[in-house]
């Protein structure tokens, strides 16, 4: 072979490795849906299990269709300055071919699905199923893709103003997790607390989840899936995969350790549910900076996220009195914002602690605030409109008996004796 043929063959091989790796990563991120389903089932009561599983199944299924038809074009099509206007449903692509866009769309679909599914946990045990379906369409067809186009549009045929400023959110601490987390916050506020969550004196009561084994399985599945979420976001099959997987793992581990320690110090016992949330907090935190920080930076980001998630859960529960059964707002909203800001501190190239000054941090702040304004603001409007039209909440009777019987006419543990006093 002459040199030119060799070069072409190598390029072809690398392109195929990129496709194989990106598809594999997409499959791992898809599996995170199972993780979310298990975490949310485990952290809520047995009488609402079918409902939360159905929400997880439907937000991904409906989200996949909505993102294919509408969302992808808004996010990655040629932009008009605010959102993309081409590439809807991959228009113009050769359906008999092997275009990169097939792989790219699948990879982006599972990310949109992740943002969508974050909300179901915060709105668990009291939301009308029909209303949740309406929300699923809106997030994947509009809210997520438009913000995504500002930060990530350049990965496709677009290009957004945030990425133009130099905003760094490698795998989506803000684009995916904070957007999902702030929507979850809006949903939980408009919806109100579960019956019995707050006493007549306004004091928060515990409503224990029904299965810590499922919750732990879910967290391990999410941790596993994150090895696709972060390292896959290079969409290139080379040695950087290993580096990103390592920073991801270090942050997750420190998140779990720090959250356990914080809960041990604050409430005298190492709380299992908080430690599990801590691992997720570390993972969400490192998602923005996984490409640009060192191992020490990753551990610091994870440790802060672990402490932050415990404080945030207690603050939202006791001070703000917003009922978030699984801690979705704290894990995804708060730690997503922290992780995005942390890029401005810990990035080896441009971070404040590495002599890069305040510029990157300032840009990160703009991105974090924009995400909050967009997702929380639109979330409030959307959930308020749903409340006034379809109705957001089940009846008191349905809530007390459980959404499984009221909304789906079936029980998750039929034939098992479940004793409940709440």
């Amino acid at each position: 072979m002459d040199a030119q043929t060799t070069t072409e063959a190598l390029a072809q091989l690398q392109a195929n490795i990129d496709i194989v790796w990106t598809c594999l990563a997409a499959f791992l991120v898809f599996f995170m849906q199972a993780g979310f389903a298990m975490v949310e089932s485990g952290f809520t009561r047995a009488k609402n299990t079918v409902n939360i599983l159905m929400k997880n199944l439907m937000d991904f299924s409906i989200g996949s269709i909505a993102f294919f038809l509408v969302g992808f074009g808004l996010m990655f099509g040629a932009t008009n300055g605010l959102f993309g206007t081409t590439d809807f449903a991959l228009s113009g692509v050769d359906w008999a071919g092997a275009d990169w866009d097939f792989t790219f769309l699948l990879f982006q679909t599972v990310f949109a699905g992740t943002a969508a599914t974050i909300v179901s946990g915060a709105m668990a045990e009291r939301t009308r199923f029909k209303s949740y379906i309406v929300y699923s369409v809106f997030i994947c067809a509009f809210i997520y893709p438009v913000f995504g186009s500002w930060a990530w549009g350049g990965l496709g045929s677009g290009g957004g103003w945030l990425e133009g400023m130099g905003f760094v959110d490698f795998a989506g601490s803000t684009v995916v997790h904070s957007v999902g987390g702030w929507l979850a916050l809006a949903g939980a506020i408009v919806l109100g607390a579960r019956i019995g969550k707050y006493g007549p004196d306004g004091k928060a009561r515990a409503i224990p989840g029904h299965n810590m084994a499922l919750a732990a399985l879910g967290v391990f599945i999410l941790w596993f899936g994150w090895f696709g979420f972060n390292p896959g976001s290079t969409t290139i099959g080379d040695g950087e995969i290993g580096r990103i997987a390592l920073t991801t793992n270090l942050a997750a581990a420190m998140g779990a350790i720090a959250a356990m320690t914080a809960s041990w110090l604050i409430s005298k016992k190492p709380d299992g549910s908080m430690a599990l949330n801590g691992a997720l907090a570390g993972l969400v935190g490192i998602t923005a900076g996984c490409y640009s920080v060192s191992g020490y930076g990753a551990m610091a980001i994870g440790a802060v996220a672990g402490v932050l998630v415990v404080l945030s859960v207690l603050f939202i529960d006791r001070v703000l009195r917003i009922d978030d059964p699984v801690g979705a707002v704290s894990v995804h909203g708060v730690c997503g914002a922290w992780g995005t800001l942390a890029v401005g501190l810990f990035a080896i190239d441009g971070g404040l602690f590495y002599g890069g000054g305040l510029h990157q941090l300032g840009v990160q702040v703009v991105g974090v605030l924009t995400a909050f304004g967009w997702a929380f603001g639109l979330g409030l409007v959307m959930f308020y409109l749903v409340k006034k039209t379809v109705g957001l909440r089940v009846t008191r009777k349905q809530e007390l008996r459980g959404l499984d019987v009221g909304e789906h006419g079936m029980e998750a543990y039929s034939g098992f004796q479940i004793f409940t006093t709440s």
């Binding site: 224990p208 549910s273 908080m274 415990v310």
Partner: protein, 51 residues
Amino acid sequence: MKLVIAYIQPEKLNDVKQALYEKDIKRMSVTNALGCGQQMGYQETYRGVDI
């Protein structure tokens, strides 16, 4: 035949069965009950909140 009704801690069930078996007493019904006695229950917490 005598009928004995006894409330015991769940973890003592096997000991009680063994002791009765040694005395050649082999018929019993067991059922679960919730409540508290002299130990006044025990304290559980969930996500930093007392139950």
